[in-house]
């Protein structure tokens, strides 16, 4: 193809040692190849250097195709689509742009896959496409699960955000209407596992049955792998569940796919968030190690959750090592019909009928609680992030300066010593060295205490952001129940069922709230305690350094 020019829209840092080239917003590049594949183009920068850059980061200068969207728009699920064109590779993590390439079995036949899955591409509607789920909190919708009796079918093909609290449309889309009215049927085999809600004398509203076989999953330091003859590299994380002890290899895009499934399936359970996608410094060791820690937090929350930790798609994600089985499991998960409110079909809730007045108060109270928690968690996250940066920059700089000032004075002490040993000089220089050491401690400290605290809070921020929508499911169920009660055509018998199902929703919502409360008081509190312990160690370390220096003083 003939050469054309493009303008760089966003900074991109090429990975050193690869064919990638760093490009900067505003630069004009001459494109020399567009058939590199996987969203990469080859071109010359203004300095005449040649290299690869992401097509999505540039805009054609001559009249050409319409503007390409920015690299991270509200993402579009890439499941089932392939990467044969330059338009659809932003959905995934930036280094995971080759989503047809499976690393499950470590086969290297991505080129074949590209051909096979070509028909799934872009706007051709097909079965898989319907199952695409936004990575954002898009409410669950599966046409099969919605009662055809509903009068609100008109807009259920539109994209709505989870923030939309229009009760009527939302109650349909969430599968709530179908469930409350009893029109949703379980998919038979789908309910392999029933979830129980317990209710002690202490719990007014019940809690999830605790896990009988708790397990953990370790995510090991990730490996950098390459494909396409070294042209592209990616990061693979090694996960080892304690119940199998078999390592599985997963990329960020697999987590992303899992997260989309979980969000689709559960709207009565808050799903912990995945770490944000991040572009810059993606191959830096620190970034990779940090993402590992973030994914570990996600995994830990999943493992501790009595519902999530037992669900099939999660189990598939943790255990599958065979590429064929992986694909089959993916298809099964995407066809799962027991999603949204119909999840309650698998819930065994206490029989006791609930009192509306008590429940309403508690829902209101928890709404305010979540709002407050969300706000305070965000605030502490901001502080943590800020302090981490300040450890690495400001505090380090301040203590370095203190150290340098003392050290220089100690050195000046030697100026009239004619090279002779001066204890005073050594002592003063030692003060300098001590503060330089403390500066180093500060530099490292942010990653030791503030960053893990931030990562923990990040999970809870996601949960407190999701729980209001869980709470809202209860309100919608209540509303639907009242609608039925006011409807003279609904028979008494049917009404009893409706009330029971609304109660199951309420029990489910409170079991989930109870779990959050338990996590807060155990997991979050332990993280805060760990933080404090790390801070203690840090200041003790400073004390030791100063003590050592003082003890050497005459």
């Amino acid at each position: 193809m003939s050469t054309f020019k493009v303008k760089v829209l966003y900074d991109f840092q090429g990975e050193p040692g690869t064919a990638e080239m760093s490009v900067y917003a505003g630069e004009t590049l001459s494109v020399t190849r567009t058939d590199v594949g996987e969203g990469w183009w080859e071109g010359l920068n203004p300095q005449g250097q040649s290299g690869l850059f992401p097509e999505a980061y540039v805009e054609r200068i001559e009249s050409g195709p319409p503007n390409i969207p920015p690299p991270m728009p509200p993402a579009q699920s890439g499941w089932g689509s392939s990467t044969t064109d330059n338009q659809d590779d932003e959905w995934d993590d930036d280094w995971d742009d080759d989503n047809t390439y499976s690393e499950i079995g470590n086969s290297n036949n991505s080129n074949n896959k590209n051909k096979v899955e070509q028909s799934f591409y872009a706007n051709e509607p097909n079965q898989n496409f319907n199952n695409q789920v936004s990575q954002l909190h898009r409410p669950n919708y599966n046409a099969d699960n919605v009662s055809l009796a509903s009068t609100n079918m008109g807009d259920n093909k539109g994209t709505i955000t989870k923030k939309s609290l229009n009760i009527f449309s939302a109650s349909v889309k969430s599968g709530l209407e179908g469930y409350i009215l009893g029109t949703t049927k379980d998919g038979g085999s789908s309910i392999s596992k029933r979830i129980r809600i317990y209710r002690d004398s202490d719990d007014i509203l019940g809690r999830w049955e605790p896990l009988t076989q708790p397990y953990t999953v370790q995510i090991a330091s990730p490996k950098k792998a390459t494909k396409m003859g070294g042209l592209k590299s990616f990061i693979a994380y090694q996960l080892t569940p304690s119940f199998t002890n078999i390592e599985v290899s997963r990329r960020y895009k697999h987590f992303d796919w899992l997260h989309a499934r979980l969000t689709e399936k559960f709207n009565l359970v808050a799903i912990p968030p995945l770490p944000d996608k991040q572009v810059s410094g993606r191959y830096e060791e620190m970034f990779i190690e940090h993402r590992r820690a973030q994914l570990q937090e996600f995994i830990n929350y999943m493992c501790r959750h009595p519902v999530l930790s037992l669900c099939e798609v999660w189990n598939h994600f943790l255990t599958c090592t065979d590429e064929k089985q992986w694909k089959q499991g993916k298809r099964n998960a995407e066809k799962d019909q027991l999603i949204g409110a119909s999840f309650c079909l698998s819930v065994d809730a206490p029989e006791k009928e609930l009192m509306n007045s008590l429940v309403d108060v508690k829902i209101e109270e928890n709404m305010r609680y979540m709002e407050k928690m969300d706000q305070c968690i965000k605030n502490l996250m901001q502080t943590a992030q800020d302090q981490q940066k300040k450890c690495e920059n400001m505090y380090k700089r301040e203590f370095s300066r203190v150290g340098e000032s003392f050290f220089a004075l100690g050195s000046a002490f030697e100026y009239n010593q004619q090279g002779m040993y001066s204890k005073a000089s050594v002592d003063v220089k030692n003060i300098g060295t001590t503060y330089l050491t403390i500066a180093k401690l500060y530099e490292e400290q942010g990653k030791i205490d503030w960053q893990p605290l931030f990562d923990k809070l990040y999970i809870y921020k996601g949960i407190t952001a999701n729980l209001p929508e869980v709470l809202n499911m209860q309100r919608m169920a209540e509303q639907k129940k009242k609608d039925c009660e006011r409807n003279p055509q609904v028979q008494q018998m049917a009404l009893t069922d409706v009330r029971r199902r609304a109660d199951v929703i309420t029990y489910t919502v409170f079991a989930e709230l109870n779990h959050f409360q338990q996590e807060r008081d155990q997991d979050l509190k332990r993280a805060l305690k760990d933080f404090l312990q790390d801070q203690l160690n840090f200041y003790k370390n400073i004390v030791t350094k100063i003590e050592d220096t003082l003890s050497q003083f005459e």
Copy 2:
């Protein structure tokens, strides 16, 4: 007089509880009285409030008298001048503007004094005026001490700064020429005390005879006194020398006068600096207490110095309690003829003739050393001042923010507790309280460690700035000696005396250098050690706070 308007040039903080009014740069004031006296005017601020403000801080808006100089120009000695006008009260500390008023005997007859001393005012030359000494490092000049044989009389009425190293004019003005040539005679009774220079096997060049009766002087927390019926108030410091145990009352202006006398008398001994004059916040308790600490540092250095601690003007300053005697002592000090290089007439130096080559190397070496020390001390002072400010502002703010973030999260924990006790909430709020306490510790810390370090370094900065001029005296003496050696008219006998006197200068210079070195290794080093100890205590305190909080965690 009729009202006129003025523009405020500098911020001024009025002392609360007095007639003073805070005014801010850029404001327009309506002046209602200019006859308040002592440089104060009365006026209305833009809010219509009435109060006193310093005339020197404002500028007349209408065509009026020429602009008044800023409040702290290179100061002009106020000795002997009175304050009957608004133009000449900047010489002294801003609250010491009434320098005719003696607080020595606490008499309250300032109005009479004003009249008596009126003729001394301003530019009328008189005997006292000649004795005025700049508060800046103005080199000593006393016409009586200069050999009339000198050919360099032409410019000795001009103002020269101490930085002027023109050897010929400086050697005359410093009294060096007269001393080396033997034309300066001691004033007889002036040499009541001889100063010895010792020389051990260790000391190549000798050191001051150590003090046989060391003493200390305590400066107590200053009192605020008033005069002129409460219109003006001033600060009096109470000094108690250990050898009399009798308290004397001194104002800053008395220190200032003393410093001028010392600077005039000694150019072979480095005089420690007085604290800088400072305008803002002058009546704040913290400022007053800090100035006390600074003056204590000045006093301590004086007391430790084998020459300065014994000199008459210092003794007079420390002991005089009678106003008449005070005035007599002042006059005597101002007439002292044994000043500048002629101080060496009172020095008993070792007999051994010095080797030029060795001395020259050592002088060069110490010149470089002083330059380096001066630079490094200034640098560390800057750091100390910076850190002190950061303790009070930045670090305090950072830790407060951390504390607030945790505390808010702990409070949010209570939102679904319906007023019930929550241990988790208490624990998390405790983290918040801990960091708020640490923020408070930081706020106070700067005054505990950085400020005293700064004050100590301030003394040494003054010394290292003065010592090069002391060193230069040796160079000038050497030059003068060489001039004599080259001059065929100088007889061998006279030459022997010239060489001896040049050696005495050299011995004196090295005794002073030796004293500095000793101070550095003892006093300064102890201050650095104290600083480190205070820092240790601070971090230990933080450790204890965090430990306490952790121990309360479940």
